[in-house]
């Protein structure tokens, strides 16, 4: 029997949560000062040396980001357990475009949705009478406005940047889905999608969960995601650490700053083919920002990385024919580029 199973069931959820919360706060606080003390005083490293900067960034950030991830994933999973994709479909079924696109984008952010379910979700939506464009708004918003990214941006940059990110992501999803819908893309959807008949009764995967079950889901999800992404995390932190230590301050202001008209385009061009999750990209984002990359360019880069991923596109190929798939990528990327330029202008 594990430690957790020894606690009486009635209070297990609460006891575990409180213990975990206390441990979290403690570790977070210790992480804030430990490395300064250890590296600078203990090992006598020079705070201004590049190697010191890199090492400090690496250890401090690994722990900080791991802790933030645990918190964010847990909270988001528990909150999302109150929502389900079946209910989203019920809400969107038969809605016309325009309103439907807006709702779909918003629901895309809060509905728990794994990209591996993109195909059955797509089929399910169409079968329920959700217009293709509206379904696409959902499929764009879901990965683009990533809950981990929201949490990370909030803790690193504050609520204004986070609000911009959410707003921008929603706008791109709404407009892109609407545009694609207007293009009359029915003929570019694989025929079997329209031929699938829904035989069974639909069950709501969010119904009937107890609070303890939700807590358990939260903890499982933390373990699952961390297990999956820790390589990406280390790579992202490693890159961030190197940039932090070796790239001169204001480097990006000089070469990719407001004076350079191609900054956003390059950022998106690099970002689209890159595959990383939101967590892995954050330390990189943090380091780039410290070296002077404008926030608009930075957000565009981040959105390009997380919104479009090769695995997801490969999956979507099952339901979307190449012309529509290409249009999907093009419209989304264009939206991101526009957002990048817009916010560089606004924030300058």
């Amino acid at each position: 029997m594990s430690v957790a199973e020894r606690i009486p069931t009635t209070h297990r959820g609460q006891v575990l949560t409180l213990t975990a919360a206390a441990a979290w706060v403690t570790v977070y606080w210790v992480n804030g000062w430990l490395w300064d003390a250890l590296l600078y005083n203990g090992f006598g490293m020079d705070p201004d040396a590049r190697l010191t900067g890199t090492v400090h960034f690496f250890v401090y950030d690994t722990i900080k980001i791991a802790l933030l991830l645990v918190l964010i994933i847990f909270i988001v999973t528990v909150l999302r357990s109150y929502m389900s994709i079946e209910r989203t479909r019920a809400l969107l079924g038969g809605k016309r475009e325009g309103v439907g696109n807006v709702m779909a984008a918003g629901l895309g952010v809060i509905t728990p949705f794994c990209s591996c379910s993109a195909v059955p979700a797509f089929i399910g939506f169409v079968a329920a009478g959700v217009p293709i464009g509206v379904t696409l708004s959902f499929l764009i918003a879901s990965p683009m406005v990533n809950e981990i990214a929201i949490g990370m941006l909030f803790s690193l940059f504050g609520w204004q940047v986070t609000a911009i990110y959410i707003g921008a992501g929603l706008i791109v999803a709404i407009v892109a889905g609407w545009v694609l819908g207007r293009l009359g893309v029915q003929r570019w959807v694989e025929p079997f999608v329209f031929e699938t008949k829904l035989n069974g009764q639909v069950i709501d995967s969010s119904a009937g969960l107890t609070f303890d079950q939700r807590i358990q889901m939260g903890m499982e999800e933390v373990a699952t995601i961390l297990r999956k992404i820790w390589p990406y995390l280390l790579v992202g932190i490693g890159l961030g650490a190197v940039i932090h230590g070796w790239v001169p301050t204001d480097f990006f202001t000089t070469y990719a700053g407001p004076g350079n008209p191609f900054g956003v385009l390059v950022a998106v061009a690099i970002g689209v083919p890159l595959y990383s999750n939101a967590a892995g990209i954050m330390p990189l984002v943090e380091a780039l920002y410290d070296k002077g990359l404008p926030m608009g360019t930075l957000l565009a880069f981040m959105m390009a990385v997380v919104a479009l991923s090769l695995p997801e596109l490969i999956l979507l190929r099952r339901v979307l024919k190449p012309p529509l798939l290409a249009a999907f990528v093009a419209v989304t990327a264009t939206g991101i580029v526009i957002i990048g330029y817009l916010f560089n202008l606004i924030l300058a």
Binding site: G124, G200, S205
Partner: protein, 80 residues
């Protein structure tokens, strides 16, 4: 009982199959467990979030991987 595990083959689907086998063994009932990976068929059951579990053509679970004990609770009343 004819049990079908619905999913394209991701780790969650394999976990659900494993957990279902454990539950069936635990119950000691006579049941066959099939894997369904074909998307149109999966969607036909009304499933939008894999993995999912279908027992005798009735959808009983979708969207998550429960524990073996929870699957046992689900299957017990259906085992005739």
């Amino acid at each position: 009982m004819i049990i079908k595990v619905l999913g394209p083959g991701c780790t969650n689907c394999k976990n659900l199959e494993r957990v279902t086998r454990q539950a069936v063994d635990g119950l000691g009932v006579d049941a066959t467990i099939e894997k369904v990976t074909d998307y149109p068929t999966i969607a036909g059951y009304g499933v939008m979030a894999t993995p999912a579990l279908v027992v005798d053509e009735k959808l009983v679970l979708s969207g998550r991987v429960p524990t073996a004990a929870q699957v046992r609770e689900l299957l017990a009343p259906l085992a005739r």
